[in-house]
Symmetry: C2
């Protein structure tokens, strides 16, 4: 049996992710989030022991969303290039649909990169995990013989991240309709350079 409180908490987190996606984790305000959920300020606050805990919970939810939407389905595709492509495709789609998840991490990372604290620490961990996951997916492509054996998985992860960062940047800030096409070209270019 799911308690009523847990249901409310999930609704708060869902709304929290979407709000933070617009105003950032720091801009996430308890009062605004509460009215957005149809709750009173104290009613919402009772679910979390502090604002920091709320931020961490929102971040955790966003991470779970990203894994569920991008990484896990990608791991169900064949190893090597198809899997790398699956990650890219789903990642791009996440950005196009202006959904949260990937976006929130970029936002929070830039927001907190100079502000120490538990939220930043968690962000660093999550980012390292994602980096390692991409490098690992790339490595399977090497062991399958699809990618050059002297290719650097970490370099590929950084380059892919750069492509995605640029995509989000041009798509969201500049509303550049060509952003997706350019990101695809960059991605193909990356693949061309590492194929065996």
């Amino acid at each position: 049996m799911v308690s009523k409180g847990a249901v409310t908490k999930q609704a708060i987190l869902r709304e929290g992710v979407e709000t933070a996606y617009r105003v950032g984790l720091g801009g996430l305000t308890i009062g605004v989030l509460a009215t957005a959920c149809g709750l009173s300020k104290s009613g919402l606050y009772a679910h979390f022991s502090s604002k920091t805990a709320l931020q961490l919970a929102v971040l955790d939810r966003a991470r779970a969303d990203y894994a569920e939407t991008v990484l896990i389905p990608a791991l169900a595709t064949p190893r090597g290039e198809p899997r790398v492509r699956a990650v890219f495709e789903r990642w791009i789609r996440l950005g196009l649909e202006r959904q949260a998840g990937g976006c929130l991490f970029v936002k929070a990372s830039v927001e907190l990169d100079e502000q120490p604290g538990p939220v930043r620490d968690q962000l660093v961990r999550d980012h390292r995990d994602l980096d390692e996951a991409i490098a690992q997916i790339f490595r399977t492509g090497i062991s399958e013989g699809q990618f050059r054996s002297d290719a650097d998985p970490d370099q590929f992860a950084v380059d892919l991240m750069g492509t995605m960062l640029a995509f989000y940047h041009y798509h969201r800030l500049l509303d550049d309709g060509a952003a997706e096409a350019r990101a695809r070209r960059s991605f193909e270019h990356l693949l061309d350079a590492v194929r065996a």
Copy 2:
């Protein structure tokens, strides 16, 4: 003769850029900035008609810093690849020294990409200008015959931006010592692909 007010205003802007570089443009607080400048809140406020005006002024100062540190010196180097390299080198150095300027634009862009208003509008203009400037610098390399005539200057600008975004990301958030080396490899890779 420079009036005293102008001197103070410049000091405020200098401090404002450095503060915004840490906490973002939205996190820039008049009270905190005032005490950081050794002024009273109203004393500082008198120099600007509103907080938005202050943010715009800070942004303008950052843009001037970036142009002075990166673009203008680069334009003094020979056209083509050396000029592109000069931009890259100075840009990287800006990030390594953790100075403001280029960094502030990334931060503000991500912060405000979903929050309409005059500050965001200015950011979009500045970003488009920078994009166009890079593409133009690249074009001189084409007309000099150093780069392939079928290379896409806009694509190069996006790719370079992606490389720099990834560099800032890994360097500042993850404090990754290899960030610079990876950025350099990405850059060389970009150049290899467009050279005639």
